[in-house]
């Protein structure tokens, strides 16, 4: 029965592949012959394809959800204890699953196209089906003439991994999966990939229309139906990118939301080009120019999506990226996919180039088209500047294949490298969105220019001067950027107010531009003005050879030690575990038989509220340790942050930040290094001291106060003749005192010793002997490394303006989309 699920799944993969090919052929015939019979065949084939894809999705999910670890996909991406929402992320953690997600969205979009696009259906669906055939071939998992085509998600664990256990018992089923990558166990990873892939998928619609237009020589009528789709793609893809950035901010310890990592760049570039294509299509709609550019940009967007797929999935990025997929040996297939569609596009463009209608009108500098076109150029150049360095590994591979040795490496500091140049593009975009808006609504003459611009310019200068006075920004490029962004907000705001006739006429463009400008301001502050607050001039030298003093970006905190950092007094108050959403000490619980459960040792309070009554069993994740750090502000206010370390036996250790979110600034904190869990205890030091006197242990002052006779020792049955005493020892910690209670007992005439230890202080004390005649005691002392953390804390001002800007941008896209689709259907 369990094997049936996989076999059916694989069968459905094959069915959906063949159906996609059949749909492509049928739709091709239908488009060529303009005949409804073939169109019907195409629809039937595409519906079969749809059913097949849905089947694959369902069967793969069953395998993951029901923990069928005999399947490699479930085994390598999921585990028994994974909550169901992370089982959804496990679905697309692997290459196969993420291809499947992409395929799934194409199917959904395809159905919309069939339902909505009338005359365009056959040629558009031909391109759709062709893409689907290529994509399903990636998960086909069929070997033809020694050639592996695709990698099936329904492979059995024993087919993928050679382990001796399978030779003994081929039916062996692993007890547990190896789990989801801890980095991906985050709620954003449940929604970010589907959003991103929907954005990916949506770019196929404009591409298919453009190719169809060239093929069927309907050079101009495609723009209208494509506009809403392009806006949809831009909104969804943009949202997906920002979600990824937010995930990186919350989960990774890069210290930010954008790292100019090749994977990020690879998806940001097509988005920029997509935005550019929307603008040229707008120009075309109003003025019938820029048709050729529109064709090129729409097609380029899709090809760049394929290129980014190739970059992230072929393994070519190798060491240069933090998060690329593991190589499944599909690079050849991916390359064919990319080259095939590139060649098709070039072929159609070349054949029709001369026939594309061109307007003979000269571009007027005072027309809005000129300024929008400038904006498009800036967007494209910005994309170009990003894609070139990102492709360095590709250039290396090409050169090395040609026999030329190349040792080029990506820029040493990506963030500095890209921001230094991209800043100027952002400046251009800020200014042009402002100018474009003025020229948008009326063709302006030079003599009126001054009056139109005077008011917004004056307001801009006032506002940005105010911002500059109030903030510490002193770098000229950042000041210019802020001014440009303020200018964009004000001019777009004026446009909105002035032309606010009806909600449907409201300019989504102006709203979107305000969003972009706010994002620029948010980025300038949160990144440009981000400040490492754990920075300290250590007075240390690199080496005795050269005398430069260096700054340290991390701070070392011993348990319960308080250090001044920036305006805060920081104390590391110990390790915590997370139970029911709150943080508790591990020693408040006893282990349960299942390692993912704990039993409360005592009534456990959170604040004043009884959170877990004694004896209750609670679920927790043993991989996670949280390090409680207390921040005390100068006014005495206290808040706690809980940076996390996740120790995953298969994936290694993962550090995640804890962020104090506030309206105007976030405090971002992560541990860099923590003390090792397994302590190496020193050799026993024996001392003899009298009751009441003090001694030193691990640099702490300690004293033994008294002895107490006890009647019960947990885990040991005491007889009438047995004697047990505990010593009460106080250790003066850095911020508070600790009590240690080692036990000495005489049971059945044998002496027993139960040492007491304090992990935080790295102290273990054993009562070796009690000497009543001398009123003294012999103690055995062991010491170990005190518990400590090294952490980094960064302040990110105004980051909320970035998220607010994103939201407004999305609203702008949606408004524009609604407006364009109304226009189209009218």
């Amino acid at each position: 029965m369990r094997y049936l699920v996989g076999n059916l799944g694989h069968l459905f993969v094959i069915i959906s592949f063949i159906a996609a090919l059949l749909a492509a052929v049928s739709y091709y015939k239908s488009a060529q012959l303009e005949e409804s019979g073939w169109k019907k065949n195409g629809r039937i084939a595409f519906f079969i394809h749809t059913a097949g894809v849905l089947g694959v999705v369902i069967f793969l999910y069953i395998i993951i959800y029901r923990n069928y670890f005999e399947y490699h996909y479930a085994w390598s991406h999921s585990s028994k204890y994974l909550p169901f929402y992370y089982k959804i992320s496990a679905f697309w953690e692997g290459q196969e699953g993420s291809f499947l997600l992409w395929i799934f969205w194409h199917v959904v979009l395809g159905i919309f196209i069939i339902a909505l696009s009338k005359d365009w259906e056959s040629p558009v669906m031909f391109v759709f089906s062709l893409v689907q055939a290529f994509l399903t071939s990636m998960i086909l998992g069929v070997v033809l003439f020694n050639l592996k085509i695709g990698s099936s998600p329904f492979m059995l664990t024993r087919e993928v991994i050679e382990a001796p256990v399978f030779q003994i018992n081929p039916e062996f089923i692993p007890q547990d999966g190896s789990g989801l990558n801890p980095l991906l166990q985050n709620y954003w990873m449940v929604i970010h990939p589907p959003t991103l892939f929907l954005g990916f998928a949506a770019t196929i619609v404009p591409f298919s229309f453009a190719i169809s237009a060239l093929w069927k020589k309907k050079y101009t009528s495609w723009i209208k139906p494509v506009m809403p789709w392009s806006l949809f793609a831009a909104a969804v893809l943009g949202l997906g990118i920002i979600m990824g950035a937010y995930w990186a901010y919350e989960t990774l310890n890069f210290g930010g939301y954008w790292n100019w990592d090749p994977v990020e760049n690879a998806i940001y570039v097509p988005w920029l080009v997509l935005i550019a294509s929307i603008h040229t299509m707008l120009i075309y709609k109003k003025n019938h120019t820029a048709l050729r550019v529109s064709f090129i940009l729409v097609i380029a967007t899709f090809l760049l999506i394929l290129y980014s797929t190739f970059l992230t999935r072929s393994g070519i990025l190798g060491n240069s990226s933090v998060h690329s997929f593991t190589d499944l040996g599909l690079s050849g297939q991916l390359l064919i996919y990319l080259v095939f569609f590139t060649l098709i596009s070039i072929f159609f463009l070349y054949r029709n180039w001369k026939k594309l209608p061109v307007s003979e009108k000269e571009i007027d500098v005072y027309s809005r088209d000129f300024w929008i076109f400038m904006g498009t150029a800036v967007l494209c150049l910005s994309a170009f500047q990003i894609i070139i360095p990102t492709s360095i590994p590709v250039f290396n591979a090409i050169l090395n294949n040609l026999g030329i040795y190349s040792n080029m490496a990506p820029p040493a500091d990506q963030i500095v490298f890209y921001t230094r140049i991209q800043l100027w593009f952002a400046l251009g975009i800020g200014i042009l969105t402002a100018l474009g808006q003025f020229f948008w609504w009326r063709k302006m003459k030079s003599n009126k220019l001054f009056y139109e611009f005077a008011v917004p310019l004056v307001i801009t200068l006032l506002v940005s001067t105010l911002i500059m006075v109030l903030s510490d920004i002193r770098e000229l490029p950042l000041l210019l950027l802020i001014t440009a962004a303020v200018f964009a907000i004000i001019s777009n705001g004026i446009t909105l107010i002035r032309f606010n006739q009806s909600p449907y006429r409201l300019s989504g463009g102006a709203v979107a531009h305000i969003g972009v400008a706010l994002m620029i301001i948010g980025i300038v502050y949160s990144s440009g003005m981000s400040r490492i607050i754990s920075l300290n001039r250590s007075g240390m030298l690199y080496s005795s050879d050269f005398p430069d003093e260096i700054n340290k970006e991390n701070i070392l905190l011993f348990h319960d030690q308080t250090k001044e950092m920036d305006q805060y007094r920081m104390t590391y108050t110990g390790k915590r575990i997370k139970v029911k959403g709150n943080y508790f000490r591990r020693d408040q619980f006893l282990p349960a038989s299942d390692p993912h459960y704990l039993v409360a040792r005592e009534d456990i309070y959170h604040g004043n509220i009884l959170s877990i009554p004694a004896g209750d069993t609670v679920k927790y994740n043993p991989e996670n340790t949280y390090y409680e750090v207390q921040y005390e502000k100068p006014d005495g206010q206290v808040f706690y942050l809980y940076p996390r370390l996740q120790e995953n036996p298969n994936m290694g250790n993962v550090v995640s930040p804890s962020i104090k979110k506030a309206a105007f600034r976030d405090i971002y904190t992560h541990v860099t290094v923590v003390a090792e869990d397994e302590k190496e205890w020193s050799d026993t030091e024996e001392i003899e001291i009298s009751i009441g006197s003090t001694f030193f242990v691990n640099d702490y002052v300690a004293s033994i106060e008294k002895f107490q006779r006890i009647d019960q020792i947990p885990g040991t049955a005491l007889n009438e003749n047995d004697v047990a005493v505990k010593g009460i020892i106080t250790i003066n910690g850095m911020s508070k005192d600790y009590q240690l209670e080692p036990v000495y007992l005489i049971k059945d005439n044998f002496a027993g010793r139960i040492p007491a230890e304090n992990e935080a202080l790295g102290v273990r004390i054993t009562i070796l002997n009690i000497l009543p005649d001398k009123n003294s005691v012999q103690l055995g002392l062991n010491t170990a490394q005190k518990d400590y953390i090294i952490l980094k804390a960064v302040e990110k001002p105004m980051i909320n303006i970035l998220w607010l800007g994103t939201l407004i941008l999305m609203i702008g896209f949606t408004m524009a989309m609604v407006r364009r689709s109304r226009e189209h259907t009218r």
Partner: protein, 134 residues
């Protein structure tokens, strides 16, 4: 000449400039000997050096010294040409450093010390687990 042509020329000029900047800022993979020579010639570009930590016969890492305050670390690295080099890293020692089978340091020479701004570690493939636990 039409305005569109000027426009096109300007865009191409900027694009070419981008390529030149990239080529200028792109780092390179070199050996310590080449890197030292570059530094001596006054070329302060940050470069990538690939190598391993110095290990003794039993595979234990040698000459690895975290600083007293644990906030920085210095170690000896052997590049692919076999040259030994002291490397200083002004960050706490990455926990996986000892386990790494390959190290890429990105930085530049300062006198005879290589200052790493960034360290990339390649650890025994933990993301592609090959073992089945019973």
């Amino acid at each position: 000449m039409k305005k569109t042509h000027i426009f096109g020329i300007v865009i191409i000029a900027i694009a070419v400039m981008m390529i030149i900047i990239t080529a200028g800022d792109a780092s390179t993979y070199v050996s310590f000997t080449q890197a030292k020579k570059m530094a001596d010639d006054g070329n302060n570009n940050k470069i990538h050096v690939v190598g391993q930590l110095k290990k003794d016969m039993s595979g234990k890492v040698e000459e690895l010294f975290p600083s007293e305050d644990m906030l920085s670390v210095s170690f000896t690295m052997i590049d692919n040409e076999g040259r030994e080099q002291r490397v200083y890293y002004n960050e706490p020692m990455p926990p996986d450093l000892v386990k790494s089978e390959q190290v890429v340091v990105i930085g530049s020479f300062n006198e005879d010390l290589f200052i790493a701004d960034k360290i990339l570690l390649k650890c025994p493939s933990k993301y592609q687990e090959e073992e089945i636990k019973l």
